[in-house]
């Protein structure tokens, strides 16, 4: 058993690595110059180049992948020479980067050729003062300094050679002098929960993503709770009545339900309950991300749509498995031992019959996520699916990466759960 679990964990780990590389390459490399998306098509090549430098896009791909995945302050620390730490911004609560110099959190800025030191106070405000002479001289006689700027980059200033950079502000692009020569945009990396800034919203992806994830978990969770018992019961009923009218009815209905695309099911549900019967709001307006908690009725149609599709699928799996088990020699043994029928079904058949569906259902979770995207789009439900979709359409690389990685992780974790459940249910593996 240990072998089986470890195998599954190792395989999962490798899977995640492959997925992350593939995702990163496809999106970062495949989607072309993202500065165009951010700065607009009317930006000049010069502006884009400057901005690329600020985003660290000129680094080699492998370095960018590592930065993205596990962060880069360790790389910056070697340049700056101090520990780099984060501290929350008192206004927004977002993390900001500082250099930890003997217990003092410090940033620097270059103003009119003079290096200023910004020391963070207890309350989060900063006190500026002239920095000590910290310039270092390299072989070429150039005096430079690596520090942390006020935009969370580790940057390299060169004395007397303030570069001209284009800075994106709320008002648009602005040209600034005294800019750094080189940037390392500081980040903690995906595995430490920092997915970078959303290009669409300008805020860290993690901040915008979590409420959406929560909403989707509510949606999928409720659907799951509705689907599972119903599906298993109907599947077992159909399975033990193979070939009889009730089985035909359940089978064909569930086939119809799975084969109908979610958006068709959704539309019909809207037509029936929203427009003809007017029992439920046809178009849900989610005023805020928390709307579902204030008005749970809004959940009804999305849950119903998801349920219809998933129910059919799980019923069919359970039925097929049940039919197979009921035809097996050990069920024959149990019947010929004179066991009452209900006991044969409950004690001998169900456990064996559930082994296969549980793994398959767990594998099916990423299919469910596909359904979630559609359902959330139809109903305008502020969840993870819609987030991915919007981000993909906008080309919000960071957001898509993070959200896609998250769905992959969810899919992979459920698969491990499925494996574990299977291991637990199947004594041949448990006691191998």
């Amino acid at each position: 058993m240990a072998r089986f679990i470890i195998r599954s964990l190792v395989s999962t780990f490798i899977t995640l690595i492959i997925v992350s590389v593939a995702l990163f390459l496809l999106l970062e490399v495949g989607s072309g110059d993202i500065t165009v998306k951010i700065l607009g098509v009317f930006s000049t090549p010069e502006q884009r180049a400057s901005y690329r430098n600020q985003l660290g896009l000129d680094d080699p791909v492998y370095l960018r992948y590592i930065d993205w995945l596990i962060g880069n302050e360790w790389r910056a620390e070697r340049q700056v020479g101090f520990d780099l730490v984060t501290a929350p911004n008192p206004q927004t609560g977002e993390d900001t980067w500082w250099a930890d110099v003997d217990g003092q959190l410090i940033r620097w800025s270059l103003e009119e050729g003079e290096l200023m030191k910004l020391v963070r106070q207890e309350d989060g405000s900063t006190v500026a003062s002239l920095a000590d002479a910290v310039w270092t001289t390299d072989e070429g006689g150039q005096e430079s300094f690596w520090g942390v700027d006020d935009k969370n980059n580790a940057v390299k200033w060169v004395r007397g050679e303030g570069a001209e950079v284009w800075v994106l502000t709320k008002a648009g692009l602005r040209k600034e002098g005294d800019g750094p020569q080189d940037y390392i945009p500081l980040r903690k990396g995906l595995i430490r929960g920092d997915a970078g800034k959303s290009l669409q919203y300008g805020r860290p992806v993690s901040v915008t993503l979590w409420p959406r994830v929560r909403n989707t978990l509510v949606l999928a969770g409720v659907a799951f709770l509705v689907v599972m018992p119903l599906a298993l019961i109907f599947g077992i009923i159909a399975g033990i009545n193979e070939g009889k009218p009730i089985d035909r009815f359940i089978s064909v209905t569930s086939l119809g339900a799975t084969a109908t695309p979610e958006f068709v099911t959704g539309i019909f549900l809207i037509l029936i309950f929203g427009i003809w019967l007017q029992w439920l709001p046809a178009v849900a307006i989610f005023t805020s991300a928390d709307a579902i908690f204030e008005n749970p009725a809004l959940l009804a149609l999305p849950v119903l749509t998801l349920t219809a599709v998933e129910l059919g699928y799980v019923i069919r799996m359970t039925r097929a498995s049940m039919v197979e088990v009921m035809g097996s020699p050990y069920i024959r043994t149990a019947i010929l031992k004179g066991m009452p029928y209900w006991r044969v079904v409950a004690r001998h058949a169900v456990r064996n019959a559930l082994m296969a569906p549980i793994t398959i259902i767990m594998l099916h979770v990423n299919w469910l996520i596909g359904g979630v995207v559609v359902v959330e789009t139809i109903f305008g439900y502020p969840g993870l699916g819609k987030y991915i979709f919007d981000a993909a359409i906008f080309g919000d690389v960071n957001a898509v990466e993070a959200a896609a990685m998250l769905t992959v992780i969810i899919a992979v974790l459920t698969r491990i759960l499925g494996d574990l459940a299977y291991t637990f249910l199947n004594p041949r593996i448990r006691y191998a």
Partner: protein, 309 residues
């Protein structure tokens, strides 16, 4: 049993004609009511699509009528929010899915639809990977399955989104997307079949003849996997249509000018309060075609396994 000459009449001596053989293998479909219903549904749309190649009631993209008409004598299924005839649009919508593929070069058109090409692609790729993984085992298997696991871990829709985000819209891109998403499933199926078939003695016989692995895989194993593979492909065409519809609904499916069922639903949805018919018809079209294919595949599978028993 030293006299092996069969008694007369036990086995028909003259071989039946080719047509009779074909009819016999087709008749299995009619043994199952489910498969028959499925086939009728599918054939209905195929025929409608074929007709639309030469004739439609009205030009599908021309806004010639009053907007949002309910079904009536001139427009049997009504009109949409731009005053286009829904029936004509539905008919033409079949083409791209089942009958033709538009190549990006100078309006070239290739026969057979996007859904089917996508499935053919995934079957080719999947069969190749699955056969190698299943038959060769060892490292081939480890690496292939690891790669496929990674691909399967992607939620399908995300994979579509990523592919389309990277490559843009187009018939070929949709085919590619269907191929990429379908191949892992086919590969898994073929692998499991190959694992089973490779234990058979006739594979040992081929190996003791010194046949190359490629010969064993493609000549000895693959033909014996065709039954489940055909059924699976049929289901996959259904899923491909399902996916094309979904992509169309999300507005990232097949590009214009040809009408796309999913997109028709999406557009009509915006006027759902004023015109419910426009949203019902394309929905029904997609659902019926996918369900038809599923019923067909399901019935066929049932009959095939019963035949084996």
């Amino acid at each position: 049993m030293a006299v092996a000459q069969p008694t007369a009449g036990a086995v028909p001596s003259q071989a039946p004609s080719r047509w009779a053989k074909m009819w016999k293998s087709l008749s299995i479909i009619f043994e199952s009511r489910i498969a028959t219903v499925g086939m009728v549904l599918v054939l209905f749309w195929v025929i409608l699509g074929l007709i639309s190649l030469v004739w439609t009631p009205y030009p599908p993209n021309a806004s010639e009528f009053t907007q949002n008409l309910p079904p009536n004598t001139t427009n049997w299924l009504g009109t949409d929010h731009l005053g286009r005839d829904i029936l004509s649009r539905l008919m033409v919508g079949t083409q791209v899915i089942l009958l033709k593929t538009r190549l990006p070069w100078g309006g070239l058109v290739f026969p057979i639809g996007v859904a089917i090409w996508g499935v053919i692609g995934s079957v080719l790729v999947g069969a190749f990977l699955g056969l190698n993984a299943g038959y060769r085992g060892g490292w081939w298997d480890q690496v292939t399955m690891q790669f496929l696991d990674a691909l399967i871990a992607f939620p399908v829709i995300v994979l579509y989104l990523v592919v389309i985000a990277a490559l843009g819209q187009g018939d070929l891109v949709v085919i590619l997307a269907i191929t990429v998403t379908g191949a892992p499933g086919v590969a898994r199926l073929v692998r499991s079949l190959a694992l089973d078939i490779k234990t058979r003695d006739y594979i040992r016989a081929a190996e003791t003849r010194g046949e190359s692995p490629w010969y064993v895989m493609f000549v000895e194993i693959l033909p014996n996997a065709r039954g489940p593979l055909i059924v699976d492909s049929m289901l996959r065409v259904g899923y491909a249509i399902f996916a094309i519809g979904t992509l169309g609904f999300l507005g990232i499916g097949l590009p214009p000018p040809d009408p796309d069922w999913g997109n028709m639903v999406n557009e009509a949805r915006k006027n759902i309060f004023s015109n419910q018919w426009a949203v019902v018809w394309p929905s029904v079209a997609i659902a019926s075609l996918v369900i038809g294919l599923n019923l067909f595949a399901d019935g066929l599978r049932e009959e095939l396994t019963r035949y084996q028993k």
